[in-house]
Symmetry: C2
Subunit: 261 residues, 2 copies
C-alpha cells in the first residue's frame, strides 16, 4: 500500500532500493521491528529482507535493539545525517528562528521540507499551550494534506506536480477526494501571494499558516509554519503572517547553503 516506486509489478527489485525501502519503513514506524514483520508489511520476499537486514546490520546501518531480534536504524545513519547537517548548516539558525517565532506568537512553530514526494516536519517548537499536533516531527505525510505543501511544489509545472505527487495522496485523511485541479489552483494562489493558510485538513480545530523559505534557486526550499487554535489564528492573522515573513527572511541566508565547495 506504500510501495513508492514500483515501476512495474512482478519484477525483481534492486537490492539498494529494497534496502532504503526498509530504512524508510523503519523511520515511518519509529520502532524496532523483526525482519519478518518488515517483510510482511512492505510486501517484500522474506528471504530478501533477511539477506538485506543482515547486510545492513554488519555495516552498522541497522542495529539490534528492543530484543527478540528486532532491528532499527543504526548509528552509521546518525553519523551520515550529522555530516549532512554539518555541511548544509541550517540547524542553528533554524532553531533560533523557531524559538523566536514561538516567543512572539505563543503558538506552535514548525520548519518543514519535502521528504522525497511527501512532506515532513523537520523541526518544531511548541507554543505556550501545547496541544496534540496531528503530525509529529519526522513523519512523512501527503503533500496535499498540508498548507506548506502548496508552497513546496510551487516551482513545478502543473503536469510535473501531478506526476510528482502520488495519486493516492489526494485522498484526504477523512476519506474525501481532493480534486488535483483544485490543489493546483491553490498552489498557484500560494505562489502569487507568497503564503498559504487554511483550516487544517488533518484535524478539526487548528488553523495553519505557511510561508516559503527560498533557497538558492529561488523556489521554496522549506517553509515556516504556525499551527494555532482556529480562533487565535483568525484573530491574529495579520500579525502572525508578519512574524512568519520576517522569520523566513532571516533564514534565507542560511539554509541549504553549503559551508564549503
Amino acid at each position: 500500500m506504500d510501495a513508492v516506486q514500483d515501476e512495474a509489478a512482478g519484477k525483481r527489485a534492486r537490492g539498494l532500493d529494497r534496502a532504503f525501502e526498509i530504512l524508510d519503513f523503519l523511520r515511518q514506524k519509529r520502532q524496532a521491528l523483526k525482519p519478518n514483520e518488515i517483510a510482511a508489511q512492505i510486501g517484500a520476499p522474506r528471504s530478501s529482507v533477511y539477506e538485506l537486514v543482515n547486510l545492513l546490520l554488519s555495516n552498522g546501518i541497522l542495529e539490534f535493539t528492543g530484543g527478540e531480534g528486532r532491528v532499527y536504524l543504526g548509528r552509521k545513519l546518525y553519523f551520515l545525517g550529522a555530516a549532512y547537517e554539518n555541511h548544509f548548516d541550517f540547524t542553528r539558525e533554524c532553531e533560533a528562528t523557531l524559538e523566536r517565532l514561538a516567543d512572539e506568537t505563543r503558538e506552535t512553530a514548525q520548519f518543514c521540507m519535502l521528504d522525497g514526494n511527501r512532506y515532513t516536519v523537520v523541526r518544531m517548537r511548541e507554543g505556550a499551550r501545547p496541544f496534540r499536533i496531528s503530525t509529529d516531527v519526522g513523519q512523512s505525510v501527503p503533500i496535499p494534506w498540508t498548507a506548506s505543501g502548496r508552497l513546496l511544489v510551487a516551482h513545478l509545472a502543473d503536469e510535473e506536480i501531478l506526476s510528482f505527487i502520488p495519486p493516492q495522496d489526494f485522498r484526504l485523511p477523512g476519506g474525501e477526494w481532493l480534486e488535483p485541479q483544485t490543489f493546483i489552483a491553490e498552489v498557484r494562489q500560494a505562489e502569487r501571494e507568497g503564503l498559504f493558510t487554511f483550516n487544517s485538513i488533518v484535524d478539526s480545530f487548528t488553523h495553519c499558516f505557511a510561508v516559503p523559505v527560498r533557497g538558492e534557486e529561488g523556489h521554496a526550499a522549506a517553509t515556516l509554519c504556525l499551527v494555532t487554535p482556529r480562533d487565535d489564528g483568525i484573530a491574529n492573522r495579520d500579525r502572525y503572517l508578519d512574524c512568519l515573513k520576517k522569520a523566513a527572511a532571516g533564514l534565507e541566508h542560511a539554509p541549504a547553503r553549503p559551508r564549503r565547495g
Copy 2:
C-alpha cells in the same frame, strides 16, 4: 588504502556495500565530489560508481551540490539520522553535560563513540581558550590513536580486539608503530581503573582524559573526554577526572536507551 572490508581481492563487490562505501567516503572527505573522483579515490570501477551514484541521487540519499556534477550526502540521510537520534535520545542530555563540563573545567569537552571499527567525536564543546583540536567532530580516526579508544574496546577479548581493529591503525600519525600488545595492556589498565589519560598521540601539546559512559550491557557505549593543554591537565588531573566521572554517571541513565520498545 581505505577499503575497510575487502574480503578477497578481485571479486565483484555488492552494490549495497559499494554504495555505503561511497557514502562513508563522502563523509570522510566532508565535501562534494564528482562521481569520477569518487571512483578513482576509492578504487572502484567508474561505471559502477556512476550507476550507484545515479541510483542514490534518485532516492535522495545523495544530492547534487557544489556544481559541476558534484554530489554529497542527501537530505534523506539527514531524516534517517534524525530518526535514530530521536529513538536513542541521548542528544539533549549529552549537550547539557558537555556544557557543564566545559563550564567547570574551562577545557574542551567531547562525547565520543565507535564508528564501526574506528573512533569518532560525536559532539564537542570548546573550552575557554579554544585551540586547534586535531580531530574534528565527525571525523573517524584509528582507535589506537585516542585515549577513549582504550575504553571503547575494553569489553572485547584480546583476540577480538586484534581482529576488530584494522592492523594498519596501529601505525601512529608520526609513523611510529604501536605494538598491539602494548595497546592491549593499556586497554586492560583502562578497564581496571575506569579511565585513561595520556599525552595526545595526535599532537604534541595536549593531554587527554577519557572516562566511559556505560550502556545497558555494562560496557562503554561512549566516552566523555577532556582535551587540555599539557600543563593544565597535569595540574588539575584529580579535579578534572572527578568532573568527568560525575558527568558520565549523570549520562548513564540516558544514552543508548530507546524511548519505546
